[in-house]
Symmetry: C2
Subunit: 164 residues, 2 copies
Amino acid sequence: MLEIREAGPSDFDQLWPIIEPIVHAGETYPYATDTNRANAYRLWMELPAATYIATEGGMAVGTYYLKPNQPALGAHVCNAGYMVHAQARGRGIGRALCRHSIAEAQRLGFEAMQFNLVVCTNHGAIKLYRDLGFEVVGTLPKAFNHARDGLVDALVMYRWLDAD
Amino acid sequence: MLEIREAGPSDFDQLWPIIEPIVHAGETYPYATDTNRANAYRLWMELPAATYIATEGGMAVGTYYLKPNQPALGAHVCNAGYMVHAQARGRGIGRALCRHSIAEAQRLGFEAMQFNLVVCTNHGAIKLYRDLGFEVVGTLPKAFNHARDGLVDALVMYRWLDAD
């Protein structure tokens, strides 16, 4: 049974083992591949407006953050990032996180959601976001320096939140 | 005779009178319309990788900043923002700033430049960026809350720097 709730500082012990290998791989997020725990804490727990943890039987299996994508006159559009534990993939947890984030973003008063840098090789994420109503509104040529593939395109994906 | 050089802290006395009315108008930048001098200093002078001042006869007539648009794996793409003094518009200063920024970005090792939120009503900027080789690579529906016009679309514009 998947539970998703807001994460507090003490949850980071369980989140870092999810985040660290994803950041280290350098395939989906732009963060430096050698990002350490303290920097990750700042990026994932402090800078966002809110951070969430998904657990199954008390074990962390996923996490996401929400934050305004721009300052004041663009702050009605939020940005989110999702991570699923390597051992928990393929079971719909990413989808559950994304659905939860859409509801939570609406609750927090955001009106739209934007992903700024969806790596074009991240087919699973692109399909998931499309399934949940996001559209590709832009393509950034060679904007992501993929750790294995080198410079690859990134997509901008966007969804108005009341568009169900 | 227009001179463009890197700005230091003591230049901000001359930059704030350029920045303040533009931010206050809420028509082109997402910053809060009541952004104060200290916050503007942080946004324009401290957070960017570099900030520049354009002068004519010793008077500041324009300014721009350059910064990486994303962390490490996206940091080869820079972002820039330009402002021209209200009394100095229509004389090609914005164009000179943008040209200068392209050369300077290359010198600093950036490989591409991206504007994340070009307000669709900012026709002058859109034309200028197009003229200088930027393409509209995305449209963000109602992503900018224009102080007079309400929610309007914003464009993502992008240029690879060696594409002359």
